[in-house]
C-alpha cells in the first residue's frame, strides 16, 4: 500500500520544526509514525508534508526532577521500558511501555506521539491522566485533566508541539489491561495511582476517550485495596460496544482491571 504523495522534511531542531509547521498548514508532524504511516498507507490521512521530529535530541530524555519524572516527547516506548530511572521511579510506567504493541513497534513509537494522537485504546493516556501528569508543549504546560478532550482529540492547537511529559511520582501505582486477543489493543485498561493527597484511577479502551472514575478514587482513598472497589459498578452508558464485547461486558472489565491494578500497585501480583 502506497500513500498519497507528500513532501518529507527532517527538522534539525525544534525551532525549525515549529517554523516549518507554521509555514505549511497541511503538514503533519512525524514522530515514530506507527499510527500515522499506517493511516497514510490506507489513505485515511493525506498530509501535504511530513515534518520528521523523531531524531531531535531536544525531545529525547528521561530525568528525575525533584518529585517528578520528566520524559521527552520523542522518547520511544522501548527506551521508557528499559530505563532504570523509570523502573525505579514509576515501575508501573515502565511496565505499561513494555506492553505496547510489539518490540519493533516499541523501537519506533514515542510517548509524545501516543499522547498527541489520543487513540481511545492507547495505553499512555491512562498513565498520564492517573498520574496527573503535565503535558509540556512549545507554548505552555497543560494539565492531564484538561488535555484529553475526546476521541482522537486533545487541547493541542494546530501549531503546538508536545515536548515533554512530567509525571509526579506516586507512592505506588499499577496498570492492568485486558487485551483484544487479535489486535492486542486494550478492551479495557486501568491505571491506578496512589498519592499522599488521594488516589486517581484512569480507564482506557472502554470508552471513546480515556476517563477517570471518581467513585473508585473515593473508595480507594478510604481503603487502598482491591476489595474496596469490588462493588463499585461502572455504568455501561456511553461505553464502547462492538463485535469484541458489549458495553456491559466492558463495564465489568473496568472493575476487574482496576482491582488488578490496585493489587499490582500493592505488590500483590504482577
Amino acid at each position: 500500500m502506497i500513500p498519497y504523495p507528500f513532501t518529507y522534511h527532517r527538522a534539525k531542531s525544534l525551532a525549525e520544526a515549529q517554523s516549518l509547521l507554521a509555514a505549511s498548514p497541511d503538514a503533519k508532524l512525524l514522530a515514530g509514525g506507527q499510527t500515522l504511516i499506517a493511516a497514510m498507507k490506507l489513505r485515511l490521512a493525506n498530509p501535504a508534508a511530513l515534518i520528521d521530529i523523531s531524531g531531535l535530541g531536544e525531545l529525547s530524555h528521561i530525568r528525575e526532577e525533584g518529585g517528578s519524572l520528566a520524559i521527552g516527547a520523542g522518547t520511544t516506548h522501548a527506551d521508557v521500558a528499559a530505563s532504570p530511572i523509570v523502573q525505579r521511579a514509576i515501575p508501573a510506567l515502565a511496565f505499561l511501555a513494555e506492553e505496547i504493541g510489539d518490540p519493533a513497534v516499541r523501537h519506533m513509537g514515542t510517548i509524545g506521539g501516543s499522547v498527541a494522537n489520543n487513540d481511545p485504546a492507547a495505553d499512555y493516556p491512562a498513565a498520564v491522566l492517573a498520574l496527573n501528569a503535565t503535558i509540556k508543549t512549545t507554548k505552555r504546560g497543560i494539565a492531564a485533566d484538561d488535555f484529553f478532550t475526546g476521541m482522537f482529540s486533545t487541547a493541542l492547537d494546530e501549531s503546538e508541539i508536545v515536548t515533554e511529559i512530567d509525571f509526579p511520582r506516586p507512592d505506588c501505582a499499577g496498570y492492568a489491561k485486558f487485551r483484544n486477543p487479535a489486535s492486542r489493543y486494550a478492551m479495557a485498561g486501568a491505571f491506578v495511582a496512589k498519592f499522599g493527597g488521594g488516589v486517581r484511577v484512569a480507564v482506557t479502551g472502554a470508552g471513546s476517550c480515556v476517563f477517570r472514575v471518581p467513585e473508585m478514587e473515593a473508595a480507594l482513598a478510604r481503603k487502598f485495596s482491591p476489595d474496596a472497589i469490588a462493588s463499585v459498578a461502572i455504568s455501561p452508558d456511553g461505553l464502547n460496544s462492538d463485535i469484541h464485547g458489549s458495553a456491559e461486558y466492558r463495564a465489568n472489565l473496568v472493575t476487574v482491571m482496576a482491582k488488578r491494578a490496585v493489587a499490582i500497585a500493592l505488590g500483590q501480583s504482577h
Binding site: I2, P3, Y8, I37, A38, K41, A78, A104, H107, M108
Partner: protein
C-alpha cells in the same frame, strides 16, 4: 523526489526516490534485496523486519527518507564470509520453518531479541515474538531455534570474555 543515502549491509547506497517510498519498497525494488518480505503490509506480521541502527523495525511502516544516514541490516547481511549467522544456523538445525515466508523477519527479530535479552526462556521468546506471525509451524520449532541460538551465542561470549 529526494536523494537518500544509507549504509545497507555495510555498503553505502544512494538513490533519488519519491518521498513517499517505504523503506521496504526501497530495499526490495531499488536495491533488489528481496529477502525482506511484505506480508500483511499493516505492521502486524513482521515479515518485513530489518535493523535500523541496530534496532529491529518494521520496514513497511517506515519511509526510506527516515532511514537517511542510517545503518540498515537486512537478512542478506547477517551471514558473514559464507558462514550462516548462529540464528540462521539454529533455524536450519531445529527446522524453525515450513514455507519460509516469515523466516527472514523471524530471524531479524530473533537477533534483536538476543541482543537485548541474552538470557531467554521459552515464555519470554514467545512474548518477544508478539509482532511476528507464522501461519505454518505453530511456533514450536521457531522457539526452540531461538532458545538454542541464544544459548550458543551467550556461551561464545562467555568464552571470549
Amino acid at each position: 523526489m529526494s536523494v537518500v543515502t544509507m549504509t545497507v549491509n555495510g555498503e553505502r547506497r544512494s538513490d533519488e526516490i519519491e518521498d513517499r517510498t517505504l523503506l521496504v519498497h526501497y530495499l526490495r525494488e531499488n536495491l533488489r534485496l528481496t529477502g525482506t518480505h511484505i506480508g500483511c503490509d499493516t505492521s502486524q506480521c513482521g515479515a518485513c523486519v530489518v535493523h535500523v541502527n541496530g534496532r529491529a523495525v518494521k520496514s513497511c511502516t517506515m519511509f526510506a527518507a527516515q532511514a537517511n544516514g542510517a545503518d540498515v541490516t537486512t537478512i542478506e547481511g547477517v551471514a558473514k564470509n559464507g558462514q550462516l549467522h548462529p540464528v540462521q544456523e539454529a533455524f536450519r538445525e531445529h527446522h524453525g520453518l515450513q514455507c519460509g515466508f516469515c523466516t527472514p523477519g523471524m530471524i531479524m527479530t530473533a537477533i534483536d531479541m538476543i541482543r537485548r535479552k541474552p538470557s531467554l526462556d521459552r515464555q519470554t521468546i514467545r512474548e518477544e515474538l508478539e509482532g511476528n506471525i507464522c501461519r505454518c509451524t505453530g511456533y514450536h520449532n521457531i522457539v526452540s531455534a531461538i532458545e538454542a541460538a541464544a544459548k550458543q551465542m551467550s556461551g561464545k561470549k562467555a568464552v571470549a570474555a
